[in-house]
Structures are given as structure tokens and as C-alpha cells.
Amino acid sequence: MSTLKPGGQGGRKKVQVSMVICEAEEKRHRSGVNALQVDPMLDRLYSAGRDSIVRVYEHERYHQSMEHHTDWVNDIVLCCGGRNLISASSDTTVKVWNAHKGFCMSTLRTHKDYVKALAYAKDREQVASAGLDKSIYLWDVNTLTALTASNNTVTTSSLGGNKESIYSLAMNPPGSVIVSGSTEKALRLWDPRSCAKLFKLKGHTDNVKALVVSRDGCHCISGSSDCSIKVWNLGAQRCIQTINVHTDSVWALLATDNFAYVISGGRDKKVIMTELKNPENSITVCVEEAPILKMCFTADHSAIWVSTSESNIRCWKLPTEKHFKGEASMPTNPISLIQGGAAIKLAVVLNDKRHILTKDTDNNVAVYDVLRARKMEDLGPINFQEELKNRFKMVYVPNWFNFDLKTGMLTIHLGQDEVDCFSAWVSARDAGVKDEPDQKVNYGKLLLQALLEHWRGVDPNIEPKSYFSVPVHTPLIFSEVGGRTLYRVLVGDTKGETETALLNETVPSWVTSSLEDNCTSKFIKVQFYLQPHSSVPSNLLKQDRHKKPDRLVANDFIQCRKVAEHILDKFLGEGGSGSPGGDAEPTPNATSNNGTTVDQIELTCNDQVLDPAMDLRTVKHFIWKSSADLTLYYKLINAK
């Protein structure tokens, strides 16, 4: 359909432009929380969200958001005494942050797939990252924090030998041993000092998703999707204990400092504390509302923060000697709660291909406007399907964007792949930009103009660029289609000098070229036949109309009234025959020589009378309902 040239990025993968529809400040987690870290010095809690944001709470109050990732943040570690934070994400990057100020210092793009786990050796300020690309990289934190724009090379050692995707990683504080857990169902161990492969521990029958190593590096505890927890003696290279306290997969583990107790949580929503010497001695710390993803000790180790696949983070008191002896019962309520927000779980694009009806985890329904990149209406906990039915409009507009909900927010993708973002032309009046029904605007182009409005790379001389503006806080993301993120910037920040320079390199040519020219040659065409209805008196028709009908071609947004004008003009009148105007020039003479007016021409399709205001693509989609060429019948009503 479209004749647009490919991205023009040479051998590079096609680049798509995405935006996230969000609030100026997203104070609450939208979805599950994958990781937690506590800074005891500042009484801070860091939480890594599936909504791509790392949030900072000081004294249990929201302090700030650390936004730079574009996908789930899977793990975080706080290092350098709380000055720096390292994060791992499904956007395949590892980022280094200034934890105190909350900005991203550098981005490591070494991994080729989701980065699932981090491990930290405090004594050596060393961090390891691992993920679904089967590789483990070791990073020296002091080198990472010293990286600048000019000094941007970093060396890493890689630990090889893994055959499957890694889901968990652990290192002891002195950094003498590192353990990985993977879908291989076995643990693999290395010496991070020499990067030498040590050995493999078999025993689990499913993925290993949680690991802890004792300070001395002699013991290791693993939690697996086979529901078991195993304690390993690393010196003897064998499993010394299997603890079966969970009824479902074990996803999170913590061990007390002296390795006397293990705290475990998992898919069964329970957190259980077990005495390692006597596994019979176990106490349920809490039962959460969703599967447990991570746990983290509070500063005094008397309680734990627990995060789940829902957005609330709760703090639970840990049992003491008293509780284990049965002298006291466990409290049923958390001692603290950091309230999370709701994630969008369901979204349906309405027929106008502009508005999206959503439903979130609290069952609240809302309407979003893609062009304006904002929520338009909160409808509350109403029936979603009903509302969808109420909002049905018989209008067809081609798809021009994709979206996903992986972060719990709407992320809109514009590209040039299966869904061409320039395929939707609508009348300026329908789009609400100008009251000119005959002027057409392109949704994709409108949105791109709005997103890049502030970018200096756009020639300011081009006439009034955008009819819409999107909120300046809207994240704008350039990424390879189905792959890695290249650049993320807020719409309002695109005017900055560095940002402009980076955008000049990143913005794909299909975007820049579309902003400059006016795309009129790329209208989508509909092919159709016009046939007289049997009631049309043949003497009214021109001679050649009795032959086999010609195949006509028109822009897909042409309205039926235009087709009627064409019939009046070419079929019934004296003019020469031809296609209805591709450029939709209005026909001034609405009456032909035999006195028939446009209003007297009735068009039907599949025996259904067509509204003159309906466009051809809507007729084809809702009435013709076939991919074959459209056939329309015309007849005269109230003919003299």
C-alpha cells in the first residue's frame, strides 16, 4: 500500500518510535515490584518496578522516581555505601545511577536479552549481571561510576559455560564465589577473582529462581520452581538439606547473617522463616495477596519489606525466639505499607483508532486519547464490555499504531512494519483540528509532529507544525523493532543541546522525511465497481454504461456523497467517464442536465442503503465485509 522508503538506516534494524502515556509524576508503582534495596543510613527504600521506574522512599514516604529504563526493572543493588545504584532491566541494559540525586549516570548495553539478576560483592565493590542471553558479566563499580561521556569504555570479564537462560545470581560479600541459577535446573559456580569455572550442582527438577551464598562462601541456599529449597555445602559440592515448606515455586530467599534461618517466599504468596538446623521449625511470616517476588531486611533486621507481583509493598515483622518457641503468635497485619497504584490490564482501541478504552487492576475503566497522549476520562468501576458496546461507532479507520501494556501503562508504538503509522487519513473536522471536512490529516504524522515539536532538528520554518501537543513529561523512546532500546528522552527535554545532538543521530529517516513533506501521495486506495440498480431506467444511462463496469479507484476516505456526485456527473450526465477524483475535489454542479440532484442518488451495498457521509473504507469494512473489490449499486429516488 504505502510507497514509503525503508528506514534508510543501512544494515541496521528498523527503528520504531514509542511513547508512554503517563502522569507527570508517577508516584505509585503501576505493577509488580521485582526488587528492593534498603539504605539504612538515609532510611531509604529503593524499589524496582515492572513499570520501568525505580522509586525512592525516604522514611517510608515517596521521595523520587528514577526513570530511564524502558521495560521491567528486574533487579537492583545499592553499592558504594548507598551512593550508587545499579539496575538490570528487560530492556537488555544495566544502568548505573547516582542514588542520592536519582539520575542515570551510564548505561551498559553488553547483554543481548533481558537482564534478570544482579549480584554484589560488597567488600570488593564488584557487581555481576546475568540474564536470558546465558552470559554473566562482572563489573567493577568504581570504574562504572567514573565513566563520562568522553571516557566511556569499560572492560568486563565474562563468566562462560552457561547453557541456558539465567534467572538468579548470588555472590558472597568478599567476592570469592558466584553462583548462578538457570533453566538448566542446576547451579553453576565460578571464582570471580580468576573467572575460573568451579563446578555444577544438580538436584533441582525445575528452574532455579532464588539464591543466597553465605559470607564465607561455604554454603549456598537455592529456591526453585520445583517448590523446594535446597541447602548446599559448596566444599563438599553436595546438597545437605532439602526444605519443602512451600506448596508452589520458590521465588525469593533471604538468609540471616549467621546463616541460622532462611526466609523464603514464592508463588504460594507465603513468606516462611525456617531454622536451617531444624527445618521442622518454621513459621509463616505473612501471607501476601500475590506471589512474592522479593524480600529485603529493614535496617535493624527485625522486619522485612516484601514485594509481590502487585504494586503494594508491605513491611512485616519477623518472628523472634518467642515465636519459634510458640510463646507468641505472629501479627496478622503488616507494620507498614507503601501503597501502590493500579496497572492497566486490558485495553481496546476504539473504531476511531484514536481513543483507547482501558480497564485497570482495580477494575476502573478509563478513556485515553492517543493523539494527545493523555487520559481523557475516568469512568470508574463500570462494565467494560458494556461501555465498549456503547462507544461503538460504525466508522472504519486503518490501524496506524501498536500498543503494549507490559509496564502497566499504555505504550504506543509507531513504525513502518506491518502496521504503517501513516495509513490513517481522516478529515480535519473528524480529527478536531479544523472545521474543514475536505482537508485530510494523517494521525501518525500529527502524533510524530507533536512528539518532536521541541526538537531543534526540525526545521522551524515549516508552517504551523502541530495541531496537537502532547504533555512535555511524555517519555519518547526510539528502539529497534522487537528489540533493544536506542534512546529514551522526555518530549519536553528534546530541545536540550545534548538531546538534540543525540536525536539527530537516532531519529530514523522515515520520521524526518515524513515531517518535512506532506505525504499526500501516500493515500490508501480502494478499488470498486459501480453498477446501476435494476430500477434505473436505461434511457437515463449513457450508452457505455450498459457494458461491463469499469473498475474504479478512489482514496479510502472518500465519502459516498462524492461517489454519488461522480455518478451524477459521469454516468447520468454528458461528461466523459473516469474515476472519481482521487484528490476529492468537490463537484460544483450538483445538478445534471436532466435535473437530477445528488440527493436523489441512493447508493447501496449488499442491499444496505449507504449514508452519504460514510466513507468507502467504512462501507468496505462494515457492509461489504470482504477483501474482494467493493461493488456499489446506485438508483434514483423520487426521480421525475
Binding site: 536479552d113 536470558l132 537462560s165 533453566t183 515455586s249 506471589p291 507481583s309 490490564k345 507490559k406
Partner: protein, 595 residues
Amino acid sequence: MTILEDDVNLESGYYKRKYEDAEEEEEEEHRYPAKKLFLRGNMLNGYRANEHRCIGETINDCPVATLSNTGNTCYLNSVLYTLRFAPTFLHNLHHLVDDLLKLNSRVSQTKAKSSSLGRNVGPISGPSSRSTSSKDLLSLGGLNDIPKSKVQIVTEKLHELFMILHNLEEARKKDSNDTCQPVAFLQAVREANYIFEGNQQQDAHELLVYLLDNIRETCDLLTQQAQHFPELIVDTEVSSNSKLWNVRKSWKKTKKKDKIVISEEECIDHCVTDTEDSNSYDVLGPERKKFYNFVAEDFEGITLRRTTCLECECVTERKEPFYDIPVPINFTEDDYDVDPSVIYRDACVTSEKLCDTNKYICDNCLRHNEASREVTFEKLPNIMVLQLKRFTTTAAGVQKVNTYMPTPLRMACFCESCCKKGENSLHHYELCCVIMHLGAAMASGHYIAYVKASDQSEYSDCSRDLPKTTLSASTSEKSLNFFKYFKSKPSSSNNSVIEHKNGVASKSLLPVCKSMSCCGVKMNKNVVENAINYSRRNGQDPWRAREDMWLECDDESVRPITSQELQDFLAYKPGGTTSTPYLLFYSKITESSDD
């Protein structure tokens, strides 16, 4: 139309099917319906036009009537032999065609009534026609001028062909070749499906799939038609009897067990399990259950595709019915020591990881995640067809894989319940037919079939369609003689008791379904005895020899062989061979020890 001509030939004492010219055919078509009914009526009553001629039976080379090759039709013959000897198939086919006939005559009676009121076709082909097939169906009141659906014609022709074979066996005579040319049947197939047109060699698997599909559709037509005329069901035996369509006892039991397992699973499954039943399975509802679709019952299994997101570990299950299992050939040198059952299990029950660029979109996580996917079998059919993937499409065209694959006579069941049970599996499978492909390429090769001489116990178990008096028992008895040897034999192993045999033994005095004398297999006793005597002379236990009787069916030549001989044919040949098993038919046997 062909029957008519056959009939004439039978009268003249020599059976040969000829297509004279198109004109004659056309003429016959006009006379066809009435005469056909007449002929069929005769056959149902055991009437044989040439009965007087068969006085002294002589030893014939072939134990059964044979099918001649009419030019590259070995693919057809191998499939026909296989279907004829596949357990229960012939018997069920008979009842299907018989029911159709009964229903049709009912419909035509109704029609006659209404036409006497001057409303010719109206009331019947009225409002209820939905699909083209149901239209065909409605019109198949069919003893007059309206054409039947091609699907139904194929099914009926298949039955007619088996009737012809039966008649040939009944009328065994001196110096006769007992050979039939399946031209009429082939013609019907070609008319219904253009891919079998022309005289090229075809893929036997493709034909088999087509035929089974065809018969399944005919069963559905019968069901549909009966529903269109509820008033007819009351009168016909269809509704009351179809429940009683005999299912092997062992199979019945299996079904019950499978169901229990399923429900247990559903309880245990803690995950958000959405079971998307694709099309026909389970959605059929009670009406469909009323009628017995024997193809679906005997040949249909259910695969279970289970996908687990590695992030949230939610499980999604998808069930799909299947009619055969394609088996990839990955046999390596190391596999010679492996139990063949394990080779087949590992080839069919598979698991894979969805990762890298092939990640799974998890409905719960709303994103692409790694996932593990297993394909298991919730239910394996009573007759399991394994298609060895011997033909691979490469850039150079279709190539044959001649790599050896073992063909075990007995195979452990690999349905999900049996896999879980390990050693104490619920069922096992026994080889009943093999279609071999001989030659280097699909187009140039030859097909032969090995079939196990069926015990045909289903005829005695059959409680429907009993003759009004038991007088036809005499003929049936005669034809069953050979199999009686099997029935009185006590079974040797306590584990693999084939239940229906015992059941029959105790009821052997019961009258035998009269379909036996319509289209049943009637072995030439003398040939069989000779073969048994021969193996006895070679020091084999005669009982064993009877149990182990196989037939090698190579177009016009059918000869009895022992299972030992069969195993020798199927065994690994050093240096390789292009004579390779292609389609394997296994019959399900339910273990009885666990009760």
C-alpha cells in the same frame, strides 16, 4: 452404476470390471437407482447370483480376495487392504452405510407422501439447509433423481467394494483369480477429490487421511440428517441402536478411565488454566453424542499443548484432536539399544523452550517472556496411525528418508496417563497393519501392506442389526470358522489379555451380526490351514501360528506369513534398504491387571 455392471459379470461367471464407454455409463445412470436397490437387497439377504456354480472348492493361492493394480494404484490397494483388516473398521462401515440407507428410504417415503400432496421438493429442502453439505444431504432422499453428496458416494462405494470382495470370497471357485479392480471406487474418489485424478502414484497417507475424513463426514451427515427429520428417528433404528454400536469392551473401559484422569487434572491444576478447545472436541454437545461417529471414536486422539510462562509460571493448555501422528525420523546408531517404545515416545511427546526471538506472549504478564511448551497426548486413539516422515520437501523437491526406524509389534502407550504411571501403564498398543513404501522416491515407488488377520470378534459382540431370525447364523458360522480357533484358546499371559476375546468365548453361541455376510472378510480356510500346517512342520506351535497370522498384501498377491517373517521383513538391514515402513497402525489394548 458400477455395481450394475458387476452384477452382469457375476452372472456370466467371470468377474471383471470394465468401463466400456461414457455413453453406456450415462445410460446406466438412469437405470441405476432402482436396480441398485434391487441388487443390494439381494446381497443383504445373502443371495448370490452365482451360488450354483461354487460346488467344489479348491485350494486357492490367496486366503482372501485380492485387488488388482489398475495402473499406479498400489497406494490405493494398500490403504484398502489396511482398512479392510483394521480392527472394527469394516463392521462399523457396514452399519454406517446401512443406517444411511434406512434413513434415506424413510426420507424418500416422506417425500413421496408430500409429493402426492403436490409439494414436490419444497418441504424437505426448505429452510434448514445451512451448508452445502447439508443441502446435498437433504436432497439425498436420493432414491430418485437428486444427486447424493460426493462424500457419501465415496463412503458407499467403499462399502460396495468390500461387498464385492466378500462375494468373491463366498463364491470361491476353481481357477478363478478372485481379483477385483477397484475402479468404481477410485472413480468416486477422483470425482470427489481432484488431487487423486490422473494415473500417477499418490501418497498412501494422503489417501488414508482423505478417506477417514470422508467417512467421518458421512457419519456427521447421518447425524445431521437424522436431526433434520426428528420424526424419522422415532421409527428408524438409528437412534436407539447407535448407542449400542459395538465398541470393543477394552476400549470402552479405556474411555471411562481417561475421563477420570482429566477431571483429576483439572482439580489439581492450580494455575489460571484456560482450556481452548479447538473445534469439534467436547463442544459437540449432547446431540452429537447420540450418534456414534466411529471414525472419531476409533481414530481420533487428543493432543494437549501445555505452555508455561517462565516468569509467572501460569499454564495455558490447548487441546486439539488429531487423526494421525507424524513421527520425525531421527534414528541414530546409539538408538539400536534403546527400547523402540521409547524412541516413539520421545519422537511424539516433545517439549521445547520458547526463547530468544521466539518468546511467548504471556496473557498474564502482558509481555513476551520465555516459556516452556510440552506436547503430550491426553488421549491416544483406539487405532493409532503413525506416519513416519519419510518424505521431506527440500529445495531439490520431495526426497525420501530411508533411515531405519524400528517397527515394534508391541508398543508401550505414551498417552499422558500412561507416561505418568510408568511401568504400570493403563494400555499398550499392538501392531495391526503396516503400509510399506518400496523405492527411492514418492513418485516411482510401490506400496504394499502387511495386515494382521483380524479376529473379527466385533461381529459377535454386535447387538444391533440382528437378523430377524437366527437362520443366517449358518452362513455366518461358516465364515467365522477360521476365527473360532482363536476364541477357544486360553490366553497365555495374564497381563495382555485381550478382553473382548474372552467375552466372545463365553458368548460364542450368540448370533453373529449379519453384516458379516454382507461385506465381512471370509478367509479361504484351505489356504490358511496350509499355511498353519507349513509352520507346524517347521516346528511352530500351531496355536501360535494362528495367533501370529499376518497377510502380505501386494496388489493381486496376498499370502499368509507369520509374525516372525514379518519381523524379519521389518528388521534392520545392514547396508540399508529402500523398502521402508511408512504408515504404522496400532490397536489399543487396555491392561486388565489393575482392577
